[in-house]
């Protein structure tokens, strides 16, 4: 890997109930790199994203994850967020009664406090959010509405990227950010993500379709199947998958089964 090491996943295993979903994931992500994780439905892509973000209903049964040298798996979800891990949800939660601005101000100040920065007052926060809103073409009316309530699929995803821009994470995990988006919305979201790419930030882009990768061009691609990464490569791998479908990988994947 070219970049500095940021995330090191070693033989990660996790289950929900009795169902083992991650069965030994190995992955290294360096600062500045964009990794795409592809795979058929049920291969464990979203589980990996949620385990990294700290969701409680998954039980980690083995392996370890080092994030900037620290043991990520022992940290609470909020500690991970404050340390710079961000998950863009596939299904952002609707929260009636709390506006995006109100919630995001509380979040950004929790993160800033942890980083030893001054908390933003209302004016400073509004200036920050106004600047970031342009990245994803959001308007003021939308962010004054209750968080995600009644938002279209595209608006929800743009809101996720807006939150990412405001919270300024070091590791961003995008979980099926392309799902439910028409081509215009996809372009807006992707250009927002691209604007946030830089040499200090790593991204893991999870997607079922290679379409998204036309817009967010990854440095590396990994194929997840039955809870394991069965193939890694560069951008050409995505095109190959597009052409041949996942069946080709499935047969190879089964070949890997010991």
């Amino acid at each position: 890997m070219a970049g500095r090491g940021m995330l090191e996943i070693k033989n990660l295993r996790a289950k929900v109930g009795d169902n083992e979903i991650l069965r030994g994931i190995n992955l290294n992500v360096g600062a500045g790199e964009v990794h795409a994780i592809m795979g058929p439905n049920g291969s464990g892509k979203s589980t990996l994203a949620h385990v990294l973000a700290g969701r409680e209903n998954y039980e980690v049964t083995g392996g370890r994850v080092l994030y900037e040298g620290k043991d990520l798996l022992t940290m609470s979800p909020e500690a991970r967020a404050r340390e710079g891990v961000f998950l863009a949800f596939q299904y952002p939660v609707e929260i009636p009664g709390v506006s995006t601005t109100y919630f995001l101000k509380a979040a950004v100040n929790a993160v800033r406090k942890h980083r030893g920065l001054e908390e933003l007052d209302a004016m400073e926060f509004l200036a920050l959010i106004k600047e970031k809103m342009q990245l994803v073409d959001m308007d003021q009316a939308l962010i004054n509405r209750p968080l995600n309530e009644g938002f279209s699929g595209g608006e929800k995803k743009r809101n996720e990227i807006l939150q990412m821009a405001v919270l300024d994470p070091r590791l961003a995990i995008l979980d099926e950010t392309d799902s439910g988006l028409d081509i215009d919305a996809l372009r807006i979201v992707a250009s927002g993500v691209n604007a946030l790419r830089n040499q200090d930030r790593a991204m893991i882009v999870i997607t079922h379709y290679q379409r998204l990768l036309n817009y967010i061009v990854p440095d590396f691609i990994h194929v997840l199947y039955e809870g394991r990464i069965v193939k890694s490569g560069t951008r050409e791998l995505a095109l190959e998958l597009e052409e041949k479908g996942y069946d080709w990988i499935k047969s190879e994947g089964q070949g890997l089964e010991v």
Binding site: P77, R82, F89, P92, I95, A110
Partner: protein, 445 residues
């Protein structure tokens, strides 16, 4: 003390009152009181064997020898009161101390011509036709023991008349302060609100408790909505830690009357709200909007009954409860659709959020329908905070406590948003944010 002894105490207090303070009043009122005390004697205090009181024990009231207070309040300041009431010193208001009008802190300035905002005791001194023709006409004196008790001891409270086509912009605040220090004080405030045809009004009844002693406040309010009226009524309770409140609102809606009745309970040891709205006119609309926030050992019982009598009327009810500690909530909601009330549209919802393992709610929505062309629905929920929402907020850096606070605040906001008086809504918002969101700053507009 037993409930039967308590009853005897009230009866003997009434006998004294009959010969003393009440003797100067007009004959019609004396008669009303006599029939009310007879009802109370016959009914006695309800017990948990009564279906309507199944989950609410009246021990805190029947075990204490309460006595009516004297309305003297030397040490109370406006700041004490406005600190609790969600209003400020600029508002139109009548203030009552232990059930009696307290002119020193009351203030009414520049009300439109014909609007009457008076203390009932004052009005009674010169007698009054509209008071006589409405007082006691709607309240269920023969069925409800506490309404009977209140009626028997009727001496003061608020009398508001909004004349025909008068659109009253500013809200009228009626603030009932209970002060008990040492002695256990009872009061029976009685109010009557009349909004005549085409009128609009916002009327706020606020009940607050000061002092450290125990008290019992037993208010009854009759509200008459004329044709084509728009009425916004609030009952806000911030009773003290040893305060018991048994209150009734009896509302009658004429044709195209639009009434919103809010019930917001933030304090009190034992609180019971009976709301009875009678949609007696075609096309009338009634919105019941309730919020109860309890903690410690508070007990809050909301009992609402909406009667659809005439066709094409609408009633929407939303009550939400937030319970922590070992708080106990009770919700009984009944919608009764009479035979002639075709094209009725009625919806009733009760939602409860339990924040602790010891908190408890009993909720019972009921529909009773005798018309065949109606649209009615009801539902209730009891639950904890949504885990997905908690995780979502935490994944953005909010602590578990802050995420919980924010979601709790959010749960209440649907009810709060319906409060139409800006200052009151902001203060309520601030109160909830402070209570549930320790580290949250005030909202960004």
């Amino acid at each position: 003390m037993q409930a039967s002894e308590s009853k005897e105490l009230y009866l003997s207090e009434f006998r004294q009152y009959r010969n003393n303070g009440a003797s100067k009043n007009p004959a019609w009122l004396k008669q009303l009181r006599e029939s009310a005390i007879a009802s109370f004697q016959e009914l006695g205090f309800p017990t948990t064997r009564d279906e309507d009181w199944k989950y609410t024990s009246l021990d805190p009231i029947t075990s204490v020898a309460f006595q009516r207070g004297n309305g003297v309040a030397k040490t109370v300041t406006a700041d004490d009161i406005f600190g609790l009431a969600l209003a400020d010193s600029g508002c139109h208001r009548l203030i009552f101390i232990n059930g009696r009008y307290f002119p020193e802190l009351s203030s009414l300035r520049g009300l439109p011509a014909g609007v009457r905002v008076e203390s009932i005791a004052e009005t009674l001194r010169r007698d009054d036709d509209s008071l006589q023709s409405h007082l006691g006409r709607y309240a269920r004196i023969r069925e409800q023991a506490f309404v009977a008790l209140n009626t028997a001891f009727t001496e003061d409270g608020a009398f508001v008349v909004v004349p025909k086509n008068c659109k009253l912009g500013e809200p009228i605040h009626l603030i009932f302060v209970s002060i008990a220090n040492g002695k256990s004080v009872a009061s029976h405030p009685r109010s009557l609100f009349i909004v005549e045809d085409g009128g609009e009004a916002r009327i706020v009844e606020t009940y607050v408790g000061l002092g450290t002693g125990s008290y019992f406040v037993n208010p009854v309010t009759e509200l008459v909505g004329g044709e084509d009226t728009v009425i916004d009524h609030y009952r806000l309770q911030r009773e003290g830690a040893k305060g018991s409140h048994i209150g009734a609102l009896e509302a009658r809606l004429s044709r195209n009357c639009n009434l919103t009745a809010h019930a917001i309970t933030l304090g009190g040891a034992l609180v019971r709200n009976d709301v009875h709205a009678v949609l007696a006119g075609e096309g009338s609309e009634c919105l019941l909007n309730g919020l109860y926030v309890l903690d410690g050992k508070q007990h809050v019982d909301n009992s609402t009954e909406i009667e659809h009598i005439k066709p094409k009327a609408t009633s929407l009810e939303l009550y939400k409860g937030i319970l922590s500690g070992s708080g106990r909530g009770v919700f009984n909601g009944k919608i009764l659709v009479h035979k002639d009330a075709q094209k009725t549209n009625a919806r009733q919802t009760n939602k409860n959020l339990l924040l602790s393992a010891d908190a408890m709610v009993n909720t019972k929505p009921q529909l009773e329908i005798y018309a065949d062309d109606v649209k009615c629905s009801h539902g209730s929920t009891i639950g904890q905070l949504d885990r997905d929402a908690l995780f979502y907020l935490r994944s953005r850096g909010l602590s578990h406590d802050d995420a919980q606070s924010l979601l709790t605040y959010a749960f209440a906001s649907e009810v709060v948003a319906r409060v139409k008086i800006d200052l009151m809504r902001q203060r309520l918002d601030d109160y909830l944010l402070r209570k549930f969101g320790r580290n949250q700053e005030s909202r960004i507009q």
